[in-house]
């Protein structure tokens, strides 16, 4: 059966959820061959095999951490040359898109980014995308070379599909461009203990209406009662109330959870661009005319300082 290359996003060997979703999609196209790079790469193998990776290619070298993006492209290209896959799938993170873009240029292939679904027919993969701030859904395919496709988190279920996967070390020779951009310092983001924003099943977001960094505790309390991630509008981020890494929208993270709860957010097009594909949308806003209400499945016109704590208490009471 044809092989499909899957680029693995992991943190010291812990495979991140979007990669497991990618394996679900990859199995629609062929046999997944995973490529895991950097510290802990070999530790990913068991999890990947449980989710259908027939082979895991691993490589570790200081270059992966010490230089930006290009060493990973060299490695992915080495895997591509070794496997001759029918498609290359990469998670749609900022870095993932850059890796995919450079690979596409190198191997002379078309590129599709931010797919939200993948199917296959006789002519190859068809990618579904959501465009113009989710006003349209498109189906596209790649007509030249081996399709290189990046896929957004939450685009497919994680499905166990255990195989007796093999692990092989991938031989990588770094080109001269690999060491062009040096990472002189790295500060890992501190974990909040909450789910990753892009991966979370529920996202609870606050905007300008939250009116102060200290008040975000109300949003966090609701999030914690639901086991949710916390998001913020750009207005809240620009005001310094919440970190930029939690911004939802065009220039922040794009999320597609089962449930999105927006409080004190008006629903500007750039915010919608990052959350409109959420399955269920709920909003609390004191302005009945706020555009966010055009999107909601359930909306409360009211003061978030009343509604949100009451909601949190009601959830806690039910959960006991």
């Amino acid at each position: 059966m044809a092989e499909v290359l899957v680029y693995v996003d992991h943190l010291d060997g812990a495979v991140r959820k979007p990669t497991l979703e990618l394996l679900t999609l990859a199995r629609r196209l062929g046999d997944p061959v995973a490529v895991a790079l950097g510290a802990g790469a070999a530790d990913t193998a068991a999890t990947l095999a449980e989710h259908g990776a027939v082979k895991v290619l691993t490589a570790d070298a200081p270059e992966f951490a010490d230089y930006l993006v290009v060493p990973k492209v060299d490695a992915l290209q080495a895997a591509y040359d070794a496997v001759s896959p029918v498609a290359v799938l990469v998670p749609s993170s900022a870095e993932g898109k850059e890796i995919a873009a450079r690979l596409a240029v190198r191997i002379g292939s078309g590129l599709i980014t931010d797919a939200i679904d993948l199917t296959a027919d006789a002519k190859g993969p068809v990618a579904t995308q959501s465009v113009f701030a989710a006003a349209y859904t498109t189906n596209s395919r790649i007509t030249q070379g081996t399709p290189v496709i990046t896929v957004k988190p939450n685009s497919a279920p994680v499905e166990p599909a255990a195989v007796a996967g093999s692990v092989e070390e991938l031989a990588v020779t770094f080109g001269s461009a690999a060491t062009g951009t040096k990472v002189v310092a790295r500060t890992p983001r501190e974990s909040t203990g909450r789910p990753e924003l892009t991966e979370a099943a529920i996202v609870v977001s606050g905007g300008r209406g939250v009116n102060g960094a200290e008040n975000f505790a109300i949003i966090e309390a609701l999030a914690d009662s639901l086991g949710a991630a916390v998001g913020a509008s750009r207005a809240a981020v620009d005001a310094g109330w919440y970190p930029h890494s939690n911004q939802v929208g065009q220039t922040g993270k794009s999320v597609s959870p089962q449930l999105y709860i927006a409080s004190g957010i008006s629903g500007a097009i750039q915010h919608r661009a990052g959350m409109q594909t959420s399955k269920t949308i709920v909003a609390v806003n004191k302005d009945a005319e706020a555009p966010i209400f055009d999107l909601v499945d359930y909306g409360i016109v009211g003061d978030l300082f009343q509604v949100v704590p009451q909601l949190t208490e009601a959830i806690k009471a039910r959960k006991g």
Binding site: K97, A101, R189, T251, I300, P309
Partner: protein, 264 residues
């Protein structure tokens, strides 16, 4: 040494307008006003700041470059009125429908023809929102990519910057020439002054077509595109949701809704 900065700017349909597809499934540009992509204003701003801070042997010069239709001149004018020195417009009927790979080819050739030490891009275009062109440009030009920077500076022959990545914040460094992209966290873009707007009218705008760049028409445009949009459907309007006025029990009602939807 002088410092030659080329800023890649895109002319995009206004995001607050009603963007839709034309019959050939490319973007319909007729019905929506276009403008300089807001995210590329940040790139122009950083270019002007780097040029202003530059104290090498020669001068720093900022050229703005766009690949786009006739109207894309508006985007160049805006960037010139912000303070860029000159502009290059790559315009050719055969470019209609070009995909990211094709655009990166055209930009790379145009950047090389213009001459550069530093290329600055926005983080993503506000219409295509792929965020891939800076990486592609770096690959094609064979120079380092220093991308998605929330802070950038040039010291001597080195570009430095801060990248707020998904898992970590990184301090990056590369030797010039290089390709940089900046985010909307890099600092508010200036408004053109009246003087700037007047001055922009006299600044040179060079027009180039595919022939000037030695690019075959078949390598770009809809024909040359390596991705094919097969269908585009308008997302069905969301079925109108339930909207309730809070009369003291809004939080409890919301909790009941969440229970009914099995979220609790």
């Amino acid at each position: 040494m002088s410092l030659r900065i080329v800023v890649c700017v895109k002319y995009v349909p206004d995001a607050s307008g009603d963007r839709h597809f034309a019959d050939d499934l490319t973007l319909d540009r007729d019905d929506v006003d276009g403008l300089l992509s807001e995210l590329d204003e940040y790139a122009v701003e950083q270019a002007l700041q780097i040029a202003g801070d530059y104290d090498g042997d020669g001068d720093a010069e900022v050229t703005v470059l766009t690949v786009g239709p006739e109207d894309a001149k508006d985007a160049l004018r805006k960037a010139l009125s912000m303070g860029a020195d000159k502009a290059v417009h790559v315009e050719d009927d055969d470019l209609h429908g070009t995909d990211a790979l094709g655009t990166s080819l055209v930009l790379a050739k145009a950047v090389e023809k213009t001459g550069y030490d530093l290329v600055i891009c926005g983080m993503a275009s506000t219409d295509g929102t792929m965020g891939v062109l800076p990486a592609m440009l770096s690959e094609r030009l064979g120079v380092p990519q220093v991308t998605l920077l929330s802070e950038v500076s040039v010291e001597g022959g080195t570009v430095k910057g801060r990248r707020d990545g998904d898992a970590a914040t990184e301090q990056l460094e590369a030797s010039l020439p290089a390709v940089v992209s900046v985010t909307d966290q890099s600092g508010e873009a200036r408004y053109p002054s009246f003087k700037g707007i007047m001055a922009a009218k006299k600044k040179p705008v060079e027009s180039l077509d595919l022939g000037d760049l030695d690019i075959e028409a078949g390598d770009v445009g809809l024909e040359g595109a390596w991705t094919l949009v097969e269908s585009a459907t308008e997302r069905p309007a969301r079925t109108a949701g339930t909207i309730v006025n809070d009369e003291g029990k809004g939080g409890d009602q919301l909790a009941e809704y969440l229970v009914s939807q099995k979220f609790i």
